[in-house]
Symmetry: C2
Amino acid sequence: MSDKGKQIGDVAATFEADTGSAGIVKTRHVTVARPPDVLTLECGRTLGPVSVAYETYGTLSEAADNAILVCHALSGDAHVAGFHAEKDQRAGWWDMLVGPGKALDTEKYFVICANVLGGCGGTTGPASVDPVSGEKYATSFPIVTIADMVNVQALLLDRLGIPRLLAAIGGSMGGMQVLQFAVAYPERLHLAIPIACAAYQPTQAVAFNEVGRQAIMADPDWNLGEYYGKGRRRPDKGLAVARMLGHITYLSDPAMREKFGDRPQEARDYTFTFSADFEVERYLRHQGVSFTGRFDANSYLYITKAIDYFDLARGRASLAEALRGTRSRFLVMAFSSDWLHPPYQLKEIVTALRASHRHVTYYEVATHYGHDAFLLEREKMEGVIAAFLNSGIKSFGPLGSQER
Amino acid sequence: MSDKGKQIGDVAATFEADTGSAGIVKTRHVTVARPPDVLTLECGRTLGPVSVAYETYGTLSEAADNAILVCHALSGDAHVAGFHAEKDQRAGWWDMLVGPGKALDTEKYFVICANVLGGCGGTTGPASVDPVSGEKYATSFPIVTIADMVNVQALLLDRLGIPRLLAAIGGSMGGMQVLQFAVAYPERLHLAIPIACAAYQPTQAVAFNEVGRQAIMADPDWNLGEYYGKGRRRPDKGLAVARMLGHITYLSDPAMREKFGDRPQEARDYTFTFSADFEVERYLRHQGVSFTGRFDANSYLYITKAIDYFDLARGRASLAEALRGTRSRFLVMAFSSDWLHPPYQLKEIVTALRASHRHVTYYEVATHYGHDAFLLEREKMEGVIAAFLNSGIKSFGPLGSQER
């Protein structure tokens, strides 16, 4: 625990618990925006019905006052913790923080995570069947935004009987959803924990996403998005290149040096071919290829576009104005070596919140893991998050005047 | 001129001159490594004959003591300054520094620039015809290294009757060649000016190059490198993706924000399609497409591999040991916002040179242009370079004991 953690309170400083796994969990599905209802998207088009894949952990209290929504990042899904089967080798993507005795303690909290709209983890997206045509949407799927994703999260909460969240938390695109939720549903969110993100997609990050999209679209197997048919090949090569590129942005220069060690020292270690001579090349190639087995290229296009469109201040005078209507308490978390969303971008959120007289705590983790740190730095994150959640239990309740 | 420039001497502080264009220049060719000679490469294979495309500017003095070798970067060529024809719209790639009255003053110096081995600007590379098979080399071309490139530069100097250079200068891969030249030909280089580079290719930069190569190789038109035949399409889509990615690394986050302005503010500015909504997307797409008209994809593979293999300390105890045998005076130049080769990488060279008791000056340009700054920051570079070259004229001569 860093010294900064202690600023939050004694709970953080003394956080220590016997932790365990969330155990075997199952992905469930609900359908929202069923006729006659429909989901009106930010682009103006409508969509429905929308199937939502989600998982829950722990038990919702009778007062429904212990619910925490976890929002996933670009390549995540609803499977945030535990295992899908006894033989599962790999736990959910944020297992380090979600489970009995962990920061998001499933003995205390009811944790929910849903696959985002446009995704490929069970929620309606471009690989889903369009009920009108009976064919898969492919690129006839409408462009969705972070706001649209959050609207679907809210519809899911309606179905689960959760009028107000104790907290929403997420890193990267997950953090963008947290911010958007706080703005769109101020009465429904007590604690907001945006991590390793920004209030708008920075230009450099747009650039990386655009190159990833162009890599996918350059793959002839992409075929203008129509690759789901029988006998068709998927644009795996393009998607692998996009993913390799993504992974560079998730690491940092020092993290790479630590992770992949020193350069080969001897001439005999060079193959003098286009083989992967360096560990980093082998790592990236592996990441690229393995990603194609679990992700849909069209979803990659749609979700990166949603991220690129994100701008909380758009159409408003300032970010502070956009945040003025929020009613949440914020814990904004940054990572020192994150160059996709450097600390200054998180500090912009903090400055805007303070200008709007919102309740906000800023926490910067010293790390060299880069953007990936939000998936790795358990020890440096868990204390401050646990303490912040704990503080929220006491102040939670029907929206009181002190929150307005 | 920044304050730091003044440290170099009064010449830098007072650098001001009427400058002009190098005028109309012509690319010339010589053939080196002609039978019975042959070029033995670092990989162990041999190559020859090797055609070298080069340009010269100014006049070689009778004593042959005013020659400056300019080394180009990944996508550069021999055309460093001036124009190829009266109607040329675009001057050579370093026209800002090379010409009458400019930092590399062609009224005083004889400036030489050659396309690198493996390139596609006239020097032998993968698109050249293999004299043995009568076919283009394609991927039968041997893997070349920065050391091989520099050996070819030295053969060119032999042909031009230049036993010893007043200076060698270059940015990025050009800087790597300067360092390599100083190590491989200590008696032949008086002043070494490596700019925006490193003594070894850093892991993160290897990673970016590898993704670029994978993008090219993922293009079915690459066809394992065999795309030169009649009726064949070139792997333009893959090469464009590689180039787009490269351009991101040449800029900086602040430079992007300045260059591409603020985000669209109004909802109506979003197309809600996969079109290029943002200026940065249009810029990258343009850079990618226009590059394919002037560059060969196989050369991109070979040259990036040469860069990735570069490691001056490889097989030696330390970088300082590698530099101990040099006899040049060094001006090492870094750019504050360069994140492809951040200042710390240039400082490592300086530290190693000092540890080897070499004569070295470090100059860091404050800029937000990122790696691209070495092609843009004329005013911040020209004074210190001119002064350093001027100081070298006085101390130039047959290698004296003071240099040993």
